[in-house]
Symmetry: C2
Subunit: 326 residues, 2 copies
Amino acid sequence: MSEQSILKPYVIGLDLGGTNSVFGIVDSRGEIKATTAIKTQGFDTADDYVAASVDALQIIIDQVGGIEKIKAMGIGAPNANFYKGTIEHAANISWGKGIIPLAKMFADKLGISVAMTNDANAAAIGEMTYGVARGMKNFIMITLGTGVGSGIVVNGQLVYGHDGFAGELGHVIMRRENGRTCGCGRTGCLEAYCSATGVARTAREMLATTDKPSLLRDLNPEEITSLDVSIAAGKGDELANDIYRFTGEMLGEACADFAAFSSPEAFIFFGGLVKAGELIMDPIRKTYEEKVMPIFRGKAKFLVSGLDGASAAVLGASAIGWDISF
Amino acid sequence: MSEQSILKPYVIGLDLGGTNSVFGIVDSRGEIKATTAIKTQGFDTADDYVAASVDALQIIIDQVGGIEKIKAMGIGAPNANFYKGTIEHAANISWGKGIIPLAKMFADKLGISVAMTNDANAAAIGEMTYGVARGMKNFIMITLGTGVGSGIVVNGQLVYGHDGFAGELGHVIMRRENGRTCGCGRTGCLEAYCSATGVARTAREMLATTDKPSLLRDLNPEEITSLDVSIAAGKGDELANDIYRFTGEMLGEACADFAAFSSPEAFIFFGGLVKAGELIMDPIRKTYEEKVMPIFRGKAKFLVSGLDGASAAVLGASAIGWDISF
């Protein structure tokens, strides 16, 4: 261990999600020493968001001995640019319009170096360091949350692309005719179907277009969430299972196209939807094997993240902090 | 220059295409010293193909001073596995069914080391070494020939994937309903629309479904080729231009999805169809900019290969030969 890491034994990781922002202070062995969280939405400006974040962070920073114990901060955020430290045109965040130099804003407030990447890239780094992707050189992480994100690892390296924005697999087009409107301003994106809001929308569509009895019919259709679908599925509700099958089949079709791109050893799924277990993983695998190009059949693993909920993304974000050299 | 490269100053490059197999003997500066070719199709077995290849090769090997002047051989071939030196399930080749250890077969006949990759990967290596991709770390090469191939470069490295088969972008699904049958056994693949045979098929469909006058109506529909479309377009035929517009628009849509994957600095197009120039490049660019996710708009270059026809692939294949260490 270097003198530096003895003097500054911690990094801050921030998992900036569409709903919650989770902060963790992490040591060099990947142990989370303290954690806190704020709501991501509801702020008018990025300045307000950063101020609220720093207020919440200050409490846990004090718990570990003050800012002088912290080497750096890593952020995993939607639409984050790794090269520039900016969030750009984040459709799902109230204060995320335009180009926001979030890494610099945190760095100025905290007085430490801050680096940032896509939230899904951060989850992929976490999975590669501590989870089911240990030792893998080629895999694709797919995060199913408020949006659908991805972190692509090729030859053991994250794919950032020439501009830092690569790995937006939630925005490949799955329906070229009459596709659903997506938060990115286009139609037919994978995210419009397989995100939490996409699942809720599938529920409303299926309730409207079928007569199948369902526990979901007791709810106000406009207020149905993916959590309601999950609860109904847990009670054996057939329509809820149909919703998961539809979602899983589309994910399987999408993964079949992704295989043609980077032929990964594994697809790793992470996020709330994954809690449905085989109700979603089984149609993903089956549809993938049915739809994928023959040379890729039977080769890829379909795995669920081995890390606990939010901590994968926080650990991944923190890992970026250790790598900062500026 | 090492003693080795003085004693053995040449490598053999083989561009194994769906129609022709082009051989070149190349020096360390990328100069092609001798070249020959045979037809790829018509052989019953891979043994027959290799025997005919070696017969043709022997003449140019003798021209440069014999096999002892040759360090190694590199092959660019469809469905080639870089890691194993095999061709696997090559749909477009008469003798390409099953798994064929082509690198070893050539190595045994010639007594030199042989390595192999995807023909499109070989073209990408050629472009990176000698062409318009010099200095680029992230680009996608798309080859429009008998099939549609691709070579993907990320962080300056070719993407082979965990099994050596990555970069099959001709086989992403562009039409999920009522898609055309593809040589890979599935339906709706990009290749079924944007390959030379796909373009001929588009011509037949447009002749059947429109009343538009066209020079192509003078031909037997079943015998129309992409070359006929090119000749008609050259004479200002409006239907031929519609065919190119349809083809270019689909390529532009496909590239918009590819951007979400690896966000390349450039898409580089290579092959017979590219000779149509702006008739195809203009709809590619326009459709890409219209369909791509907002954060990628206006960033990617759309380039035509800077290397002369077959030599890009031959040079790329030969470059693999220089790298062989076994």
